[in-house]
Amino acid sequence: MAIIAAPHNRSSISPGFLAWMGLIALLVVIGLVAAIQVFVHGLTLTNMYDSVPWGLWITIDLSSIALGAGAFTLSAIVYLFGLKRFQSVVRLAIFVGFIGYTCALLTLVMDIGRPDRFWHPWVYWNVHSVLWEITWCITIYLTIMIMEFLPVITEHKFFNRWPWIREVARVLHKGAPLFALLGLGISLLHQSSLGATYGIVKSRPIWFKPSMPIMFILSAVAVGPALTMTVALVIEWITARRHIAYDVLQTIARFSGFGLLIYGYIKFWDLAAVTYYGRMPNVEQALYTLNQQTPYNFAFWVGEILVGIVLPVILFLIPRFNRNPALLALGGFLAASGVVINRWNVTVSGLFVPLSYSPGTQYVLPPGTYFPNIVEWGIALGIIGYALGMLTLGVKYLPLFNKQEHG
């Protein structure tokens, strides 16, 4: 890569960059070692068990797809709603989205018991399954993102030798509005279906409610663009080069702030609805168990509400704060953490609530306990390494911030 990159005078390799890549390589190696262990010995190496069969990895899937939502949101804003001001950030948004979705796929392959059968959902259909629909949507949307991103890749000097590839990409790029439309539809479908994955499960009291898909999609639409904004700011500091006008990023932050307000409103509505309208005995029992035995309430109020909604809204919407890029980046980081905490809290707490089906009075399964072990964290580190590595290479070798438009 270094040889190809040499003609770019901006891509000189500094010791700092080498150290950074070394760290990334370390993370990826940790991930690979863990992955090989899991492939050889099976999922028995993880702390998941029959009562809590989903854990950290599902949280990573859900979070990285939600955080990749900046791609479809900003594409739609530019190509469908015609707000061309945001054109400069679309490439980065799609790139971040692509990284998020590939992270989810990599983690999914680790998480399923038979990785050799990863292709089954494409061949054996069960159209009633939300998980089937999600698999299809993710595949299709990944293809759309690749189509959208192809022109950026072909701008690299490497493709000087094959002008026809660039030509194909240029023609493809004319379909950007079409891709944005498809991407919007597909994303709205699967981002909400991720919530429905939980929302339709009748047997789990704290999941089974119609607000699940709405809360998932609102949080994704609000926080996805904020993450893209944060990534743009961090890239700006590291490369010491302003690529995207600050007012564009500031507007994205305001958009996210208002999005988070709506999300927060729906969350409180949901809380009130569950408390006062839908308080069936099993829901009451489930919440009681969770409050007594797990930090569910703490994670909800501090993690999801305070860190994930209140603080970012303050940083994004109050002019005194959103003039400061550092505070915007902090807000984006907090909002993204809030989404991760939310997905974790939903997944794990829902499974902690013991099933009760006996006609008698005594027998209930014991409440679940789960904390990821070193193998699961190893995969998580590997995924983070992959994401950071892709981002670094993209920033260094791809024209992510080229404002020039084709066509």
Partner: protein, 277 residues
């Protein structure tokens, strides 16, 4: 590049739109042809495996039979023979039996024994959620796993309200302590990475029907747990036949199903203890 805030105009001519639409349509056609046409690497698989799996969803028992089970909680003595015979015949790991037996209390505090196979729901949550249709309703009301298709996502396990599903977290090498005392395995062990559950001993049902015997009437055709029960607490049979043993018992006794409010419509009924639950 030169001007700041360039007004970007996407020039879309009719020709461009047609080109893109044509390309999209063409690739869809090609994709369809490659995945389902005669060239498809999956074509043989699909002929063999995809077509004989019926449409999943509500109202599963559409055939002549609807296999069900009746468990009499009043007569059950909690000996766990059903658990052991099941584990021997189906070669189930001892730490995650398909068929559980637990001691229970009624609301007045007297003891009874509660046991639970897979309930073979007619509106099974596990069937609905499986992304690959690896678990499906059969025409005779059974909910069966296709171990060759399961990808091990464990969504069925999350969705089952009755905790009837177990995942193979590792390749098994354990000795089965119930073999041969309680029987010898009649089916293969399941491989690592797939979900498994009680099948109502489907291999016996299918074999029996082929040779003209009726499950529920002929002991050889019954699930292992039914045959071994020393007090006859379990009755198996065709719920669609009003003259079967199970139908006559159901007509003569009060019976309940577990968590009816979920609407899963289990095929397993329970006669409560005489003094009530």
């Amino acid at each position: 590049m030169s001007k700041k805030k360039t007004k970007v105009k996407v020039n879309l001519t009719r020709r461009d739109v047609l080109t893109v639409a044509g390309a999209a349509f063409g690739s869809a056609l090609v994709g369809q042809f490659v995945t389902t046409g005669p060239l498809s690497p999956f074509s043989t698989l699909k002929q063999g495996q995809l077509e004989d799996v019926p449409e999943t969803g509500h109202g599963a028992a559409t055939g002549e039979y609807h296999w069900g089970m009746l468990i009499n909680l009043d007569t059950c003595i909690g000996c766990e023979y059903c658990l052991r015979a099941c584990s021997a015949i189906n070669d189930v790991s001892t730490d995650k039996p398909w068929n559980i037996v637990v001691e229970e209390k009624t609301s007045t505090g007297s003891t009874f024994y509660f046991s639970r196979p897979c309930l073979h729901c007619q509106n099974a949550p596990c069937v609905e959620v499986c992304p690959v249709g690896a678990t499906y309703h059969r025409e005779d009301g059974l909910v069966i796993m296709n171990y060759d298709r399961c990808i091990g996502c464990r969504y069925c396990q999350v969705a089952c309200p009755y905790d009837a599903r177990k995942f193979n977290w590792e390749a098994r090498s354990d000795e089965n302590p119930y073999v041969p005392t309680f029987g010898t395995p009649e089916v293969d062990r399941r491989p690592r990475g797939v979900v498994e559950k009680c099948t109502f001993c489907v291999h016996r049902i299918d074999a029996a029907l082929k040779s003209g015997r009726i499950p529920g009437e002929d002991p050889e055709a019954n699930p292992a747990c039914v045959n071994i029960c020393p007090v006859g607490a379990r009755t198996f049979g065709n719920l669609k036949d009003p003259n079967s043993n199970i139908s006559r018992l159901l007509a003569a006794n009060p019976a309940i199903r577990l968590r009816e409010e979920l609407g899963a419509e289990p095929s397993v009924y329970y006669i409560p203890p005489k003094e009530g639950l």
